[in-house]
Symmetry: C2
Subunit: 338 residues, 2 copies
């Protein structure tokens, strides 16, 4: 691989996902058809519940990364469509279980499945999608892909448990937080992108480059997700919801506001994260302190670092629409407001 450096350059227009969407449109049509076909079951509750979440939209970032990675590797087959659907099933299963675990009531602007169908059905249909994901991988038949995705799945589960353990613990450090999001979010981004190089039978260096792209992009995405939840502009738009605050999640905007705060402010955070202050007024105070120390911006700055690493990770691939679209997706990850 050559050592081209593709810097985050100043733009007049905001970075957008549009090039990635255009690059992957035809592949994603195939992937979406597989998703719809393979979520079926003779037990009607399964497609009803799975479809509630899947039809609810979502960016489908992870399967899109598999498709984009295949474009970058100039792969012309169709094996990756099945695998991209498998990746989305893993993701969907974790969303269903997350919503049960967090007791969430809204996702993608709709009532969550646990609200509509109840926790028991949501847990079990999550399990079904997870097993179906493995069936798709086995159908493809690559042990290498199976190893990458089964490892990623177990890392995600560990990350979810780690996050649960860290909730309501004010002492959670930035390092620990990065470990958590590296596991619960970035591992699947990394695996989704990496398997494109595997099906394209590229050398291991290319696999590792795609893995690094996906991993760093995943960290950037999660950082910005966590920033949006406290961003006053997003809150006004009804995008940030203060869910993380009420659940006592230690995300980076809070970790930094706590670290930078004075004694009185630290006491506020201790009480809030412990769950003793969770009114609308308390959320407003949290947003005020986060604005005071500019930790939404600081979180976006951290995201920019990881996005740049993602872009540099694929600098060795030939310049072209795939590499450009993937680079702009990383810039979009940093700048997005939703």
């Amino acid at each position: 691989m050559s050592a081209d450096i593709v810097p985050l350059r100043p733009r007049t227009a905001e970075p957008s996902l549009a090039p990635l969407l255009a690059l992957t449109a035809s592949g994603m049509n195939a992937v979406n058809a597989i998703i719809l076909d393979r979520m079926q079951s003779e037990i009607p509750l399964i497609p009803a519940l799975a479809g509630h979440l899947i039809a609810g939209g979502g960016k489908r970032m992870r399967p899109m990364l598999t498709v984009a990675g295949a474009e970058l590797c100039e792969y012309h087959g169709s094996r990756h469509h099945l695998l991209a659907a498998s990746v989305e099933f893993i993701h969907t299963a974790t969303l269903l279980h997350d919503d049960v675990v967090d007791g969430s009531d809204m996702r993608r602007g709709r009532d969550t499945a646990n609200i509509v169908f109840g926790n028991p059905a949501t847990v079990l249909v999550g399990d079904f999608l997870f097993t179906r994901a493995f069936e798709l991988m086995v159908e493809d038949g690559s042990l290498k892909v199976l190893k990458i995705l089964s490892k990623a799945s177990s890392v995600i589960a560990e990350g979810e448990v780690d996050q649960l353990t860290a909730a309501r613990r004010i002492e959670t450090s930035e390092e620990h937080y990065l470990q958590i999001i590296g596991a619960k979010t970035a591992a699947l981004f990394a695996a989704a992108t990496r398997i494109a190089a595997v099906v394209a039978e590229r050398p291991e260096a290319d696999e590792l480059a795609l893995d690094a792209y996906g991993r760093n992009l995943g960290v950037a995405f999660q950082l910005v997700d966590d920033a949006i939840d406290y961003d006053s502009e997003s809150l006004e738009m009804g995008k940030g919801k203060g869910d993380d605050f009420r659940e006592g999640k230690m995300t980076l905007p809070v970790i930094l506001a706590y670290a930078r705060g004075n004694a009185e402010e630290r006491q506020f955070w201790q009480d809030a994260i412990a769950g003793f202050r969770n009114s609308d007024d308390d959320l407003a105070e949290a947003v005020r302190l986060i604005a005071k120390y500019d930790t939404v911006s600081a979180t976006r700055d951290r995201a920019r670092h990881f996005a740049q690493r993602a872009i540099d990770a694929i600098a060795g691939f030939p310049a072209g629409p795939a590499r450009s679209a993937m680079a702009e997706a990383a810039e979009f990850a940093v700048s997005r407001r939703f």
Copy 2:
């Protein structure tokens, strides 16, 4: 295979699991070591929660079937130990999720994990064990085994959803009930036994024979489990707990008592299964009606049929300690009181 028929013969002593335990003792030591080793994680809550259930005992029937099947196939390697551990992890994951779904509070004589650690952690550690099961299969590297176990896992998940949908529906038929237990219980028994023939590289007819043994044994086990929950003798011993009654599960003792009952008794069942009659007195009435129509015995009779099919399925294997122990395990499945 020859066509020996090994009938359920009258015995002076009660059939016992002891021969199966003796046959598999050394193999199960190896399996248990793998289970303990592979449930570890850097996230302390994972081994704590998983260990709570795993250390709580249980018969470990499913991995024992893999080990026994390997003996029957005269397999002298050790690949099946890892796979047997994987099977037990799948089973453990489903138990954790079952207890969350049913809101159970006791299993194996101890508080359930969801009571001790809460539903969120129990869901997520179940997910972890499930992913770890797949990692073990991938480590073994047989796509044939992966196909059998991933298919079984998805059938289990479908069966669990099917059971959830059927709960509190008095119209559930014996046929539908057999479908449910075939999926939620017997599929893993079948897969666990079948993979022994795969690692032993036996012809497909032997695989199918072991599959049939495991599947029929699993149906027999589940039928007797469901009978025990209404058996007045078991209830006196504190083994039957009436959980199925309170959860409105349509198990065979109820299906048959409803079918055989008069109009007044049918009304009772309709009300009870719908959830309007679930006091201790109502449970006593349910047990009385089940005794009146002898449907615990009828359920055991059904189990005897499936146990005999299990025994006949392996009649083509050479006579010896493995085949005898597996046959007696099937007789035990029918006669057991716990």
